[in-house]
Amino acid sequence: MTAADGGTTGLPVRLLELASELRAEGVAIGTAELLDSFDALKEISWASERDFREALAATLAKSPEDRRVFELVFERFLFTATELAALAEGGSKDDSEAIDASERKAASDTSAGADSERDQDSQRQWLGDELSSDELDALRGAIAAALQSSATGGPGAEGSMRDLARLAIAAFGSRQQHSGVVGVDVQRIRRALDLRTADRPELGAQDPRRRGVPHAQLRRFEALLRRELERALIERTGQLPRARPLRELDRALPSSPLADLAAVHRVVAQMRRRLATQGSQARGHARHAQVDVRRTMRASLQTGGVPVVLKYRPKRPRRPEVYVLCDVSTSVTSASVFFLSVLHALHDSFRKMRSFVFIERVGEVTDIFERERDFRALSERIAQQAPVADISGYTDYGRVWSEMLDLVADDLHPRATLIVLGDARTNGRDPRSEDFAMLASRAGRTFWLNPEPRLYWNYGDSVMAAYEPYCHAFECWTTSQLEDFVRALARPGLALASRS
């Protein structure tokens, strides 16, 4: 985004800028949507930010995912736009600093729990002194207490939260060099503040941190920290930070399964919807069989009651059936956690789904997934119960395919989708790609998700090339790549291509 020059001011231009930012984030906005949004803005009062935002959201963002992106982008857009305006209008740097200082003073004045420290704090933070560890500890407690109490707070809570964030930045942010990356600073300050959501009974009874800070509060607090840090950064450098794409920021590599389970669930929910849609797309018009008596009778009227033209009942698609094979060996340890969470999410979405895990042998885990809801317990159960390791504990793809053929070959049919999650590292054993080819030919579509970057495929003991001709192979080590896979799933015609 560049600074506004003469011809590019006014609301329409701003809206177009917003739209192009949204498009950059992958929200499909057509001209029709833009025209609608202008129409909608004619109808409402602009005095309320909420109404303004809702009217735009209703016309521009048309799915829950888009809506979420819209909220983030709108927030960012509004923030940068106001900061930009402030920069353009505002005087020298000293001025803004002075204003900021007084604001900060006011902040510590009003902040709920920090009264006792505010004097030393507001003195010392400007002198750049290091606070003693006792004082810091007291401040930590005060902020935790304030966060807890403001959980039930009314409309004023937002303001006092912001003040707390400023206080925290002043106390902890300046103690070391700014890293220059806002996200890193936020985490550092949060760690310094020692805020956690879990209850900690080991602390003293009067310590406010004994009861955990509500998760939502912590999130809000972090968002405010980020915003304040960004504001400070803009003040320091006198320019706006470059707009970063949201996607990478929000959907990074899912390393910890529990935190990212939500992200995976979201992608899989999308996958289910795509599969459902795709089912009816793939339905041809030629496969008609049953005569629709009612419609035939109606049509017969044109010929005076004689059923000359027969009308057929269209064939309804069957529900998608999914078979998933997941590698859980040590070579994919980090990825298998991710894969298991994918599997976990898939299980919630598909009624007709069978899952298998394998190392040296295949074990069916469908009913474990059906019984166990909790992800952690689930992984334990699988580790204990699935009979997958034999002697060596190394993956043996060849054996897996032949066992798999015995297990499911009769059940597989052209409407089934087979998904393999694995790195195709056979530890030097026979890949037996002909067995895999047989499996793939029985199933309608076969996908392979490989947790390694494409660059590493076929290096060392990876035999991806042996399997690739029979399936659609995807590298999949971030949720965004998982989304690519979902998109590919939905592409019609892929099924035909795979069987040619």
Binding site: E33, A40, A57, T59, S63, R273, A276, R298, D348
Partner: protein, 351 residues
């Protein structure tokens, strides 16, 4: 003036069908007015709900309402129809729904009767009537029979509006009074059906080959609901305003529960809403929605419960939880937190 017309509309709501001619079309001036109107109609709208409804009325665009099951998507349409004093025309979608059931259908029984009625006075060639035997009809035509002209008339006649069975979409379009058209669970239909809807939603007209296009005389307010079970086409989405209904915030849900179960005492109602909120936080197959909260509230009223402890929860859990595995999770996580005895004070609201 608008408030007056709104109440006037509300007053005529009951007699809308009868006194259709003089009912005043309510065009609210602000979102707040719509919110107020919906409130009086027995629906507590969220922030964006009222605004989007207002925009839909003003802009004459359909609204696509999405959200989890049981958050009041269908109820919104019903309440809007009550508030605006318009008749509600509902089209319930399902897999395999086709235009004969959604748009219109020729009443072939009546058409047959008509043909036979026309044929029988002049039928001189025995019991094999004209209507069931087209061969004889063409034979007559070929002979230059005077009945030929009659046949022409009949065929014009039987494809007239008298023989048209209006299905929901045609009803909504052809209605002399503006209606609220609810197309429920659009995600259950096929994509072909969606494509067919496009003409209705953007131009508010239906083309009947024998009659030509039927253009709406009045503008219906259209609501489409979807449980988000499949992706709708971009073309359909583009024609609609979008409204995402989610589980409500604690306070709003409390208000809703109080509205639907006023007999429930306040502390129990608050605790109920808090528990439902807690349950939604868990990773469940089907989290309870507003409908379930209301059902639970009514259940507790019937049982005369004055407190919710783990005992009461265990007994009545089936009202809000509809899966066996979910029940175990809830019993383990929430039941324990509630404690067996009721002497523990109600914990303060969190989150």
């Amino acid at each position: 003036m608008n408030a007056a017309s709104a109440t006037a509309a509300a007053a005529t709501a009951a007699a809308a069908a009868a006194a259709a001619a003089d009912s005043v079309e309510a065009t609210p001036a602000s979102a707040a007015e719509v919110a107020e109107g919906l409130r009086t109609a027995g629906y507590l709208p969220g922030e964006s709900t009222a605004l989007v409804a207002f925009l839909a009325i003003r802009m004459g665009k359909p609204v696509l309402v999405e959200g989890p099951a049981g958050v009041g998507k269908t109820e919104l349409a019903k309440s809007l129809s009550r508030y605006l004093g318009r008749e509600l025309v509902r089209l319930q979608c399902y897999e395999g729904l086709d235009e004969a059931k959604a748009l219109y259908e020729w009443n072939y029984r009546k058409q047959l009767l008509r043909i036979q009625a026309e044929a029988s006075p002049g039928a001189d060639d025995g019991p094999a009537g004209l209507g069931t035997d087209p061969a004889s009809a063409s034979a007559r035509g070929a002979h230059g029979d005077p009945h030929d002209r009659g046949w022409q008339e009949i065929s014009d006649d039987i494809f007239g509006e008298d023989f048209l069975l209006a299905r929901p979409l045609l009803t909504a379009i052809a209605s002399p009074e503006p209606v609220v058209l609810l197309i429920d669970e659009i995600d259950k239909t096929d994509q072909e059906f969606e494509a067919m809807l496009l003409e209705v939603l953007s131009d508010f007209q239906i083309s009947i080959p024998e009659l030509g296009p039927i253009v709406s005389r009045t503008h219906p307010l259209v609501l489409l609901t979807s449980n988000n079970s499949r992706e709708l086409t971009e073309a359909l989405k583009r024609r609609c305003l979008y409204l995402w209904l989610d589980y409500p915030a604690l306070d709003r849900e409390l208000e809703i529960v109080r509205m639907h179960a006023p007999e429930l005492n306040d502390t129990v109602a608050r605790k109920l809403v808090e528990i439902v909120g807690m349950v939604r936080e868990l990773d469940l197959k089907k989290p309870p929605s507003i409908a379930e909260s209301i059902d639970w509230a009514r259940t507790l009223v019937l049982l005369g419960a004055t407190e919710i402890d783990s005992d009461v929860l265990a007994k009545t859990m089936s009202v809000i939880i509809k899966h066996r595995t979910d029940m175990d999770v809830v019993a383990a996580r929430v039941g324990v937190r509630l404690g067996g005895s009721s002497d523990e004070p109600v914990p303060p609201a969190t989150g």
